[in-house]
């Protein structure tokens, strides 16, 4: 079953062509890792999947709904797509628990008591059970990112987007975050991950996509990509990062 179906996607910023006719699909339960040099357009591709970036042209169909179409209620679609950002973007004015409960309570999915219970369960999953009442400012980077994952999961999405989730972390924090992501993948979450963690890609990805200069240049299993790269640009990219 196709969860994400992108066709002929073009994104321009003025005369700057960031995405050039990209076709991209994600199956249910699939974990897709997008790799590529900085500025290649991989984050922009990810951000068009929940319309944080508006496509210039082309279609982005999520669960059968074209979100490029202005008539689609984008808020409804977004409830089903969790997103994790490079810089966490936790709500600075709210406690950890309120960060997680904001969307479920505001969007009337749950009453307060249910939301508290669910938030505590999510905190257990990310190994931060004791932080429910903590202030966001008191957390380390790794803790912030795990709270951000818990927050993204609070609406029970069936797709999760990760935009370089470990890039802003100190090296010793990276492992904790990747561990949570691995567990999600194991539980069958549909995931699209933009990352520079090649180890994670190799171990967890069902499919790896290489993006450069606004195009998908190669796509395949981790083995295809890392052991038998065909595209010369992918070969030179891998030489630099591995």
């Amino acid at each position: 079953m196709i969860k994400v179906d992108v066709k002929n996607l073009v994104k321009n910023y003025g005369s700057n062509h960031v995405l050039k006719n990209v076709d991209f699909q994600v199956q249910k339960n699939e974990v897709v890792v997008i790799i590529g040099p900085s500025g290649s357009g991989k984050s922009t591709l990810l951000r068009t999947l929940n319309k944080l970036e508006e496509p210039t042209s082309g279609s982005v169909v999520i669960d059968g709904k074209d979100i490029a179409d202005p008539k689609t209620d984008i808020n409804k679609v977004r409830e089903n797509i969790g997103m994790v950002f490079q810089h966490f973007n936790l709500f600075n004015n709210l406690s950890v628990g309120d960060n997680i409960m904001l969307a479920p309570v505001e969007l009337k999915k749950e009453n307060k008591a249910e939301a508290v219970k669910q938030a505590q369960e999510l905190l257990k999953i990310v190994n931060l059970s004791q932080k429910f009442d903590a202030k966001v400012q008191s957390l380390s980077g790794g803790q912030k990112q795990r709270i951000a994952i818990a927050r993204a999961l609070a609406m029970n999405p069936d797709i999760m987007l990760f935009d370089e989730p470990t890039s802003a972390l100190d090296p010793e924090m990276v492992g904790d975050v990747l561990q949570v992501m691995k567990r999600l993948a194991k539980d069958g979450m549909t995931m699209v991950v933009v990352t520079h963690e090649m180890g994670f890609a190799r171990e967890v990805a069902d499919r790896v996509v290489f993006v450069d200069e606004g195009k998908i240049l190669e796509s395949g299993t981790p083995e295809d990509i890392f052991e038998h790269p065909k595209n010369p640009r992918l070969q030179s990219f891998l030489e630099k990062v591995l």
Binding site: N50, L52, N75, K76, V77, R78, E79, N80, I81, G82, M83, F85, H87, N89, L90, F91, N92, N93, L94, L102, A103, E106, L107, A148, R151, A152, A154, M155
Partner: protein, 479 residues
């Protein structure tokens, strides 16, 4: 958006309530069938507030005496010269007596009574000084008060006598300049000068009245002929029976009862005017509170328009901020108070005009920092909220605004203090707040330095209190 609408409606309703309230209060004054006569607020000795802050003066005493002689009732309203003239033209009051010169130009729109006072410009110098006549002014400076016949006269003869004219905004500063010796002399209407000397100003009149004009009582052209006839008849009676001379001498001749025989120390001035100052202070406070309320409402709404994701509203917000931040407060106040009624034909009470002025001006500053504060919240916060499926308005109210407001609280406190100070500029449209109160007291006792010191101290005390209150509020929001 819904909340914005509610805010806006509340603001409109409140403004209307104020307007209607003010409308009623002027109507009740019309209920009694008496002649309504307008006069100026500070033109001693013709009209001014005395020690008890009751309006007295030649004009007022004369009008009352004539009314008594002719058997009619008057209600004298000190509303300021310009306001009195306009109100007479629009029929809101029946006439104006305010040391008004009879000129051919004015006679086009007003019917004047027989002249009741012949005035003229005199030159005054420091008592015991060496300057005694116009010829001694060559190469020296001469002080005048802006817009007076004394100023016009001085300018007309300055080339002939070779002196330089220095212009002041009020009489006490003009006298002070002569007393300190910066200026060799000043030119002033004879009765005004005589009254000042009687009040203890150490100047002496050294010339005969020149360039004289006559004061008349005025009614709207073609109307109130009966009142005018009564005035003329009464005036003639008073002049015959000596009462007229009694009234004039009372204010101008040193043997008459001295209206200002009083304690001119700081403490004396404060004690004598405490009620008057207190009312001015209350008016300043009330004006500040109402203005801050509306300016905040207006500013927050305009600021929020500026962060909506629509180009139209952003443009609207920028334009409003640009216009009202670009206009000097004084110009805006005069435009709203005198310009709008000219355009629309509906009068605006001075208080409302003042509030509207501050609402626009201070509101524009508030809008600018509200917009700036909200925009300075990291854009990732909005993205994270939207990515969860929260609509724009919920993201704004739950995530962005709480963070933005914290950033702008210090700016709010600053703006409240500025608003309080800016209420003083509204004295220009005749609102009887603290600054205007000061002006009126000075017009009577000519103690500029002392009165302004008292007024300045009162402002400082209020601002200190406001700052404490704000700091306290700020600490509470921090928790």
């Amino acid at each position: 958006m819904k909340k914005l609408k509610v805010f806006f409606n509340a603001m409109v309703i409140a403004l209307f309530a104020l307007l209607i309230g003010a409308g009623f209060s002027t109507q009740t004054a019309h209920a009694e069938k008496t002649y309504q006569i307008g006069t100026d607020v500070t033109f001693p000795p013709f009209e001014f507030a005395n020690n008890q802050n009751k309006y007295v003066g030649i004009d007022i005493d004369l009008m009352k005496a004539i009314a008594k002689d002719q058997g009619f009732k008057v209600n004298i309203k000190p509303i300021g010269f310009n306001a009195a003239v306009q109100a007479t033209q629009s029929g809101q009051i029946d006439g104006v007596i305010a040391g008004m010169n009879i000129t051919p130009e004015r006679a086009q729109t007003f019917d004047f009574s027989k002249p009741y006072y012949k005035s003229g410009v005199v030159m005054a110098v420091k008592q015991g000084g060496s300057v005694k006549d116009l010829n001694q002014l060559r190469g020296k400076k001469v002080a005048v008060k802006t817009g007076t016949s004394g100023a016009a006269y001085a300018n007309s003869i300055k080339n002939k006598y070779g002196f330089k004219v220095v212009t002041f905004d009020d009489s006490s500063n003009m006298y002070q300049d002569v007393l300190t010796g910066n200026s060799a002399a000043c030119f002033e209407d004879e009765p005004v000068m005589k009254y000042s000397i009687k009040q203890g100003t150490k100047l002496a009149i050294v010339t005969k009245p020149a360039d004289s004009g006559s004061y008349g009582f005025a009614v709207d052209k073609g109307k109130n002929k009966v009142l005018l006839a009564k005035f003329n008849k009464g005036l003639a009676n008073l002049q015959k029976n000596g009462e007229y001379k009694k009234i004039v001498d009372h204010y101008l001749e040193s043997k008459g009862t001295n209206a200002g025989s009083s304690d001119h120390t700081f403490w004396g001035i404060l004690k004598q005017n405490k009620g008057f100052l207190w009312n001015g202070f209350l008016q300043t406070l009330w004006l500040s509170i109402v203005s801050i309320f509306f300016a905040t409402l207006f500013g927050v709404i305009v600021g929020l328009l500026g962060v909506l994701p629509y180009k139209f509203f952003q443009g609207l917000s920028s334009t409003i901020i640009y216009i009202f931040r670009g206009l000097p407060l004084l110009v805006l106040a005069l435009f709203i108070y005198t310009g709008i009624p000219t355009l629309t034909g509906t009068k605006i009470p001075a208080f409302i005009a003042g509030v509207v002025t501050l609402m626009f001006n201070e509101g524009a500053y508030i809008a600018a920092f509200v917009r700036g504060g909200i925009n300075s919240v990291d854009s990732g916060q909005m993205e994270a909220a939207r990515s969860l499926g929260l609509p724009f308005s919920k993201s704004m109210f739950k995530v962005i605004l709480p963070q933005g407001i914290k950033l702008i609280i210090p700016s709010f406190i600053n703006q409240f203090i500025i608003t309080l100070k800016d209420t003083s500029i509204l004295s220009i449209i005749g609102i009887l707040e603290l600054t205007q109160t000061g002006k009126i007291i000075i017009a009577r006792n000519l103690e500029g330095f002392k009165v302004w010191t008292i007024v300045a101290l009162i402002y400082l005390i209020v601002i200190t209190l406001l700052t404490w209150l704000s700091k306290w509020g700020e600490r509470r929001t921090r928790l």
